[in-house]
């Protein structure tokens, strides 16, 4: 009989116990993987999706304070600026009851493809976005949430401006983490003008810089340019912008990480408990194995191997289950959530899966070590005397 099948048989000896332990560990690993998606969503946004050569200009006083529209042309003319586009919050509502359920902005279509090069928007979609007045580019998550596809007509009710706009979706922003809905600024300008108003401001300006080394000087240059004007700006890198924007979630992230750690501790307890029970019940046969010549090391390895195998198998099941769990939550509560930002992306990445699996592996091993060491060290004669 090979070692592998011996381990397996040992696990199968008390099927109920193995199933209960395995089930508990699988559940806990699934929870850990799921909870880990929340801080992970924030990290990814900052580390991977925030581009190092994209900077954002906004009013120093706050994001709801507008900037004059003329700032865009001034920024575009600066040295080192490859492309720039402005975002103006439209606050459009698709379903009345849901309120603003995805961020929608009026933008200039001409340079958006360059500023957000890394989003990988198809050139045909960009071309159509430029050519149609009522065109809209929509993030993948939002498309999926409402079952929209390119070619669909969608009407958004304005909450900031007293106008309702009808859009034709011309393409997708192919990123799971971009819920945005972008449309042409000119379309909004005309609608506002028709209702008797005038749109002469913008919200934020997004700038693509040609050289990472030029980013810092440019940040200073922009802020100095507008220093003594009617609206002072604050310019920062995309990463710092997101960090600040979601800074208020810090406490929530901390709480979630504490809870995740607690659930992981739980796995240690469950696994250690089972390992200690198993070892205790097998005192006799361990003593016999040793007395017929099996080494301590083998006995120890066998017991630890059993605990590790069980935990790892359960961990694999749990990690896999977290994929389903996250999908369920995404379907029920996912999408863009203004209160939780990137915490609510609920995407179990491969890294999280592997981490969950390793966590199970190490915990299994760890939990087996103490009782197995005791069993391997125990004197044969003493044990046999006690048991018989």
């Amino acid at each position: 009989m090979s070692w592998g099948s011996l381990l397996w048989r040992n696990l199968a000896r008390n099927k109920l116990r193995s199933a209960l332990t395995g089930g508990a560990i699988a559940l806990a690993i699934a929870l850990v993987c799921f909870l880990a998606t929340m801080p992970d969503g924030m990290n990814r946004l900052l580390e991977q999706f925030a581009s190092g050569t994209r900077v954002v200009v906004h009013n120093e006083a706050g994001l709801v304070y507008p900037l004059p529209y003329a700032y865009l042309q001034k920024v575009r003319a600066m040295r080192g600026v490859v492309a720039a586009t402005s975002w103006t919050w439209f606050g459009g509502v698709f379903v009345d009851e849901e309120g603003v359920s995805f961020p929608n902005f009026a933008i200039e279509p001409d340079q958006v493809g360059v500023v957000f090069e890394d989003y990988g928007i198809a050139p045909e979609a960009l071309a159509e976005f430029r050519s149609r007045r009522d065109a809209a580019l929509v993030g993948r998550a939002t498309l999926r949430r409402y079952g929209w596809k390119p070619g669909d007509l969608v009407t958004l009710k304005g909450t900031v401006f007293p106008v309702d706009l009808r859009f034709r979706i011309v393409g997708e922003i192919p990123s799971e983490r971009a819920p945005h809905f972008w449309f042409q600024r000119e379309y909004l300008e005309q609608a506002v003008a028709a209702s008797g108003g005038r749109l002469d401001f913008l919200g934020t300006i997004w700038v693509r810089v040609d050289d990472p080394a030029r980013v810092d000087p440019l940040l200073r240059e922009i802020d100095e340019t507008f220093h003594n004007s009617e609206a002072q700006t604050s310019t920062e890198t995309e990463k710092s912008y997101f960090k600040n924007f979601f800074g208020m979630l810090e406490g929530l992230v901390m709480l979630i990480m504490i809870v995740t750690a607690l659930v992981a501790v739980c796995i240690v307890f469950i696994a250690a408990n089972t390992a200690s029970m198993t070892v205790r019940e097998r005192m006799r046969e361990i003593a016999i194995l040793k007395s017929i010549g099996f080494s301590r090391r083998l006995v120890f390895g066998m017991l630890v191997g059993e605990a590790t195998l069980l935990a790892t198998l359960a961990g694999a099941v749990g990690a896999f289950a977290s994929l389903g769990l996250s999908q369920l939550v995404r379907a029920a509560a996912g999408g863009w959530n203004p209160a939780m930002g990137p915490l609510a992306s609920f995407i179990v990445t491969n890294t999280i899966l592997v981490e969950g699996l390793f966590l199970a592996f190490f915990i299994g091993m760890l939990s087996g070590v103490v009782p197995s060491l005791g069993a391997a060290r125990r004197g044969v004669v003493q044990t046999l005397r006690e048991v018989f």
């Binding site: 116990r17 209960l20 508990a24 709801v64 309120g99 208020m248 607690l262 509560a333 203004p338």
Partner: protein, 392 residues
């Protein structure tokens, strides 16, 4: 005859490692669940308790919150004299015109957050009847003075009474601090409405109105009358309903907490079941003896159930205590837990384990104890005395 409680207790103490580990599982599950329950209930307390049942909020039609609304001066002037509106001590109608702006504030640890700044007139204190000045005094109009909510005072730079705070385009003198029963108004800063409109360069001075209905008046009828007024496209809603709607952004969190409680509870049930099965197995001979001595099946069943329940309640006590301490530690170290409201402003949540949270956690550990103990106890009760003795 029933087995004495000491029997169950003694069994738990006889296998200390095993008991400690299982107890640890229950305690950790209780701790994790209670912390999240406390977060949810603190959020609810803050967001939902906001608003008076006698008040209406009036916004522009289509606006989902007062941050995205604007209404003309003449609408305010006309609405004041609608029938069914309460009057203050001075005979003036209790209608509070308000402007909401969300500027950046610097947190004490160097961060930057959007805070809701509400421009008001002195009548606001009579309309928002939950608000009380607890330190300093009300601001004087047009003198660059502000009063800050309880949650704001500790969290932001220069926000304590007597200090100067920078936001918007200017620097403001903090002259008072107000409390509002722990609701989300405490995360706000109040300032003279005209001064705020000037600072924010808003063409229309007001984003919305808060209206206090006269005692006995029909709020819904009043709301309908305001909504039907054809001169301005306005919409009136009960304040309580408005804040309940605003708190919907926390729904995803509720879902996660419930799911987490259920799943980790099942995990703990598995752990408890395991331990008790092992304990039944190890005590087969003993159970056989007890049965032979004349103890009934019911007595055995209840002895094991009691054992399991004892374990669960000890776990609950330890977990609950830790949760209470940890929540207080987190809340005081961060100056409250920040949460983003639908208006993108920060609500400062005072994380606090309430009695109801503990009740839910107690229920969870009761279920863990009962379900985790049931099957092993049943197995023990079903052992036939002769077989049990022989097997041993």
């Amino acid at each position: 005859m029933a087995l004495p409680l000491r029997y169950s207790l003694g069994n738990l103490l006889a296998r200390r490692t095993r008991t400690a580990l299982t107890l640890g599982v229950v305690a950790v599950v209780v701790l994790a669940t209670t912390l999240l329950l406390a977060l949810v209930s603190s959020l609810r307390r803050t967001l939902i308790s906001t608003g008076s049942p006698d008040n209406l909020i009036v916004l522009r039609k289509g606006a989902t919150n007062d941050g995205s609304s604007a209404l003309p001066l003449d609408a305010y002037q006309a609405l004041r004299y609608f029938e069914g509106i309460a009057r203050g001590a001075d005979g003036e109608p209790l209608v509070s015109p308000e402007l909401v702006v969300q500027p950046f504030f610097r947190t004490r640890d160097g961060g930057r957050e959007n805070v809701l700044v509400r421009g008001v007139e002195p009548v606001a204190l009579a309309v928002h009847d939950s608000v009380r000045i607890v330190e300093g005094r009300m601001f004087n109009p047009s003198s660059g003075e502000v009063i800050v909510g309880d949650g704001v005072a500790g969290r932001y730079e220069g926000a304590a009474v007597g200090e100067q705070i920078r936001f918007g385009r200017g620097t403001w003198q903090v002259v008072g601090r107000f409390a509002s029963g722990g609701d989300s108004l405490e995360s706000e800063v109040w300032v003279d409405v005209r001064e705020l409109a000037r600072d924010a360069k808003r063409p229309l001075p007001y984003s919305g109105l808060r209206v206090r209905a006269a005692p006995g008046a029909d709020l819904d009828a009043l709301a309908r009358r305001i909504g039907d007024e054809p001169r301005w496209a306005l919409e009136a809603e009960r304040e309580t309903a408005y804040y309940a709607e605003q708190s919907k952004s926390a729904d995803a969190l509720y879902l996660i907490v419930i799911g987490l409680a259920v799943l980790s509870g099942i995990g703990a049930i598995c752990g408890a079941t395991n331990t008790l099965y092992a304990s039944v197995q190890a005590r087969t001979a003993e159970i056989g003896t007890l049965r032979a001595l004349g103890f009934s099946r019911g007595a055995i069943l209840s002895a094991f159930l009691i054992e399991s329940l004892l374990m669960a309640s000890a776990g609950f006590a330890i977990g609950g205590l830790f949760a209470w301490g940890l929540a207080a530690a987190i809340s005081s170290s961060l100056g409250g837990v920040g949460f983003a409201a639908a208006t993108f402003t920060t609500s400062v949540i005072d994380l606090h384990v309430g009695f109801l949270d503990l009740c839910w956690a107690a229920l969870l550990s009761l279920v863990i104890g009962l379900v985790g103990g049931w099957f092993p106890a049943l197995r023990a009760a079903r052992l036939r005395p002769m077989e049990a003795l022989r097997r041993a």
